[in-house]
């Protein structure tokens, strides 16, 4: 139970950074931290009591393994998170060259 509360605290740290920070790069890092909290939550769902890592060893016959499906989901989701972060950083660098600042209060051309 306490591990789920720690995942939630990590999510809240990311959310705080996303809302209160003005620098573009800090917004990108906070979004990454929020996504990592969900990955931790997904891996912790698959835990079965007294289970070991799901690598098959034929010498020990009735062994309890933890659930490998959430681990496969998290591997794919990590790659998707990499693509999202790379895309955000490329746009942030180009924004710096056009607006000469990273401050989101200056970047407000579009209104209405």
């Amino acid at each position: 139970m306490i591990v789920f509360i720690l995942c939630f605290i990590l999510f809240l740290v990311g959310l705080y950074g996303l809302i209160t920070r003005r620098n573009l790069i800090k917004i990108v890092i906070s979004l990454s931290i929020m996504e990592f909290s969900v990955f931790l939550f997904l891996v912790l769902i698959g835990y079965i009591d007294a289970g070991v890592a799901p690598i098959v060893d034929l010498s020990l016959s009735d062994q309890i393994y933890v659930d490998p499906l959430p681990q496969a989901m998290v591997l794919t989701a990590i790659v998707i998170g990499l693509a999202t972060t790379a895309m955000l950083l490329a746009i942030a660098i180009r924004l710096y060259r056009k607006y000469k600042t990273f401050d989101i209060r200056e970047i407000n051309q579009l209104r209405g």
Binding site: L18, L42, A83, T84
Partner: protein, 510 residues
Amino acid sequence: MNSLIPIFIIVPLATAFLIMILGKFIQGFQKTITPLILLFLTVLSFYCLLNNYSDSYAVGGWEPVKNIPIAIYLVMDGFSILLLTIISLIGFLASFYSISYISKFTSENNFYALLCLMIAGMNGVVLSGDLFNLFVFLEISVISSYALVAFGTEKEELEASFKYQVLGGIASFIILFAIGLIYWRTKTLNIADVSTLLSSQQANIFDIFVQILLISGFGLKAAMMPFHAWLPDAHSSAPSPISAMLSGVLIKAVGIYVIIRLFFNMFIASEEIAILITTLGTISMVIGVLLAIGQWDIKRLLAYHSISQMGYVVLSIGIGLILMARGTRPAVAVLAIAGGLFHMVNHAVFKGLLFLNAGAIEHRIHTRNLKEMGGLSKDMPATSATSFVASMSISGIPPFNGFFSKLIIIIAAIQAKFYLLAFLAVVVSIITLASFMKFQRYAFFNKKEYSKTLKIKEVPFPMIFSMAIMGILCLAFSLLAFPGVREQILGPAIDVLMKTGEYTQTIIGM
């Protein structure tokens, strides 16, 4: 090969990779192959639509073990094939239009490859029968659209793309969290298996929490109020064929389609959630059109009208869900769902046509402000005629297709005794008409305001061809209202949504 389903995913993916490899060596390769491939997909999807092709395909060939499905399933039934047709058709017309529009940018290879990737992702979302597979294809199409919105790399486009990306990233995080919670409760990811397991257990507070998370996540992708903040910036700053694709297809295929599929076929319909969905649709409809009246930028005006028309579709689907949850009057529920799906198909065509017109105007005059245009109807006759057809369609004037779909939605609302919703739908339609009268007058029929030294001719042939075909389709789709044609095309879609048992039978039974 014994099934047509994997073709819809393999072909656009292979085209995107081939364009990246061969585009550096062969000139003009990307311009010819993308419209050809999308035309092939359109013809194939029309063939499946008219033959009522309904099948499920297990990727990898893994058979169910002890009656538990363990493979990833791709399912094509009446509802998916309707959306596949719209995606391929609007994609083909937009890529044909962009043969002459995109030639002013430098890296055309990247544009066509990203367009094919976006279409492959949307096809995957529509065909998927597995929750995590849906999430992966959703991310493929949405990340391609982030790159396409920022394609021109001007100041406004980069800022709009950044806002879109941060909000879209939060939505994807919420969707992944909800998928994790569903897996925790039912220990399976297959949509049909989740529906059988959820229907045999008691509904508790956990299910309601998951449903609200899914409405928030997919509602942000579908641009419902109060999650609409990214749409005016992103859709007005993108290049015009991409605006037509985003507003015409993307918010339907990854937003509205998934909400309909999950809430009709996976969860048990409960009345509180259905009332919540209907309320969100009504708020989108009313506030979208009120915000659109004061706009002077043509593409921002069209983007706000997208929010309003999506509100119509969600309102109608919500009425159908309320009636199904109560279990009374199935005939009116069928009518409401038919109106919603018909309006979704119509909106793809006329909103795509309006964005292509706005692109044609911008291509010649280089401005988007309505106060600086005027008198274009003499110089650009094809653009003016098709824009008139599209404006009449969206306002609901007979004999164009918008009239019939709005009429079905209002009749369904009156028959279900929701008189306030029917009244609001009529009022919003009148305000939409006023807004488009303003658009037509200032853009086409006023005195000339722009500088006389610009020589305004008609736009090149590929752009006229796409706009003319869409204008003809606006008239042709109004035939869908007649009972004979409606049963053939919309009937299978409604059957699949109302009878959940048949959907699970298609996957687990076969």
